[in-house]
Every structure is written in C-alpha cells, then in structure tokens.
Symmetry: C2
Subunit: 179 residues, 2 copies
C-alpha cells in the first residue's frame, strides 16, 4: 500500500509518501514540505496548502492518508493555524474518498521507535533506518510526515484487519438495506 | 454590499446573509445552520461543511465573507473542530477570490450592541432590531452569523476606506512592477 503522511502546519506542512506493507521493507517514494509565507492572509495560506496537498495526491495516488492528530493542549501559539491546516488536509483527502487515519504523536513515536516518549532524534534515526535512507530528510516536518506514513502502514494493516473482523460480526444475516 | 457571516463550528456552522451599507437600514437575506452529525468521521463532517458553504455562496453571491476569529483560549472541548471548520470557511471563500474579514466575538458585540462585553441576549435583541425581524433566528449559531455580517457591513465599510487610503500613500509615483 502507498501512504501519504501529512504533518499539518501553516508555515510548513510536511508531506511524505511511503510504499510498503506489514512485514516487508518500506520504501520512501517522495518527501517534502508545503511552505506558506507568514506575511500572507491566513485564507490564502490555507488555499496554498490545499492546492499543494491536492498536487501531491494527484502525483502519487496514495491508497490512504495519515494525518497527525492535533490537540488543543499542544504548543498554543501556533495551534490554531495547525488545526486549520489539519482540517484542510482532511477535506482534501475525504473529497477524493481516500481512507484517512489520524495518529497522535505518541502513537507515531511508539510505532516507529517502540517508545511513545522517544525524542525527535530517536524517531529520526528510526525513520532513516526503516526507509534505508542515507540521511534524515529536513526540515523536521518532512521527517515527521514520513514517520506518520510508516506508522500508518504498520498500524493501518492491523487496524484494517480488526475493522474487517468487527464489521463481519456486525453484518446482519440478510441485507437490511441497500445503502 | 451583501455579506455572508459564518460562525464556524463542526456540529452547527451558522450562516447569515445581510444586505446593506453604512448609514442605511440593513436587510436579512437568509439565515441558517449547516449541521453535521457527531457520529460521522471528522473528515466527512468537514466536507459537508465545505459543500454547505459553497452552496450558500453559490446561491447568495455575497460581496464579502465575515468569519468569526477563533482563539485557542476559547471553550477547549470543541476548539479544535471549530478551528478546522473556520479553516474550511476561509478556504471556500478565498478560492472564489472573495474578500474575507475575521472579527472577534468582542468586536461583534461592540459593533452590534455598543458593548464589547454584552451578553448573548443583548446581542440577540440588537440583531432583531437592526434587521427589523419579528424574532431572533435560532439556534444561537445562526443569530451569531447575522451579527457577524452586520459587523462586517459596519466595520468593513470604514476599514475599506482606511485600507484604500493607506494603499494610496504607499503607492509609488510610477509603477515599479506590473504584478
């Protein structure tokens, strides 16, 4: 499966595309950031992010999108812009009918490094190793987007199987409705 | 001028359209809320808001859009959804090239009632009087959207004149570039 990881942000929105499946080596397809200038009105910045994300999806055709879950208690000076950017990311993916998952920073750290409280350097080192890179992509937002995509491949696979099993037990013996 | 006021929210996004200009009676054109179910994934809810706002703009063709400015310190349980919905509102308006203004709740209260700390009932009573309604539209999000639109007509006119004057003083004597 191909996953687009998005680390939402107004000044730098990290994007990373990873190919792979559980139990097999993962491959980095592309990584980067969508930047917007703080001197522009916020609405224009959000439109730039929308167009940028649309272009990434258009180019790489991911099977799923993983977005970092934003919390109100995070860094408060930039949190509103981050929340707005995350809303744009969700809409861009949902409009195309792509499966979307939200992963918390702790979930990403735990999935990638085995430790939900790992620091940036530990997570970065694991991203390099998992994707067999020669160095960690910069800025941090780009590396974080790759970590999100890795998390999604590993968690997403398991989660999909759980969801399918739960759906199977809930399925009525005969179709109740066609929608 | 015709203004679409948007009180962003994930469960109820208030929308209100007002026609008028400074110094003349204002008229309510339409008012309502875009509702999304809390049982749906957030991405789907945001897409519903996007489509709803697009439909309101399509139908009423406002000259400007006024969106409530959201602060990180507001009601924290719903603040992230509100921020995401506000991001969608900004993008929907900016994509169409519509002028956008953000007004704080205090600015709205001050503009409509003359008191930046007015309570909901005072603001509501003034919305009814200003728009010559027989009763205040419900729910509160709808009434708040009208208050935002009124604020924009009254503040927006003055602000536009200030912006034009500032732009005039900044304008170089000969064109420096064509963009």
């Amino acid at each position: 499966m191909r996953v687009l990881g998005i680390d939402p942000g107004l000044t730098r929105c990290g994007v990373g595309v990873v190919d792979g499946s559980v139990g097999r080596p993962l491959t980095m397809v592309d990584v980067g950031v969508i930047r917007t200038s703080a001197s522009l009105p916020i609405a224009e910045r959000l439109v730039t992010i929308e167009r940028g994300l649309d272009a990434w999806i258009e180019e790489h055709r991911p099977d799923a999108v993983a977005v970092e879950r934003v919390f109100a208690r995070s860094d408060s000076s930039t949190i509103m812009g981050t929340a707005q950017a995350s809303g744009i990311a969700l809409v861009v993916a949902a409009r195309r009918g792509l499966p979307i998952a939200l992963h918390t920073p702790s979930e990403v750290k735990a999935a990638v490094s085995g430790n939900g409280r790992a620091d940036k350097a530990q997570v970065g080192a694991m991203v390099v190793r998992i994707l067999r890179l020669t160095e960690l992509p910069k800025p941090a937002d780009a590396a974080d987007a790759l970590a999100l995509a890795i998390t999604h491949v590993w968690r997403g696979g398991a989660q999909s199987r759980i969801d399918a099993a739960v759906a199977a037990t809930r399925r009525p013996p005969t179709p109740m409705r066609t929608r």
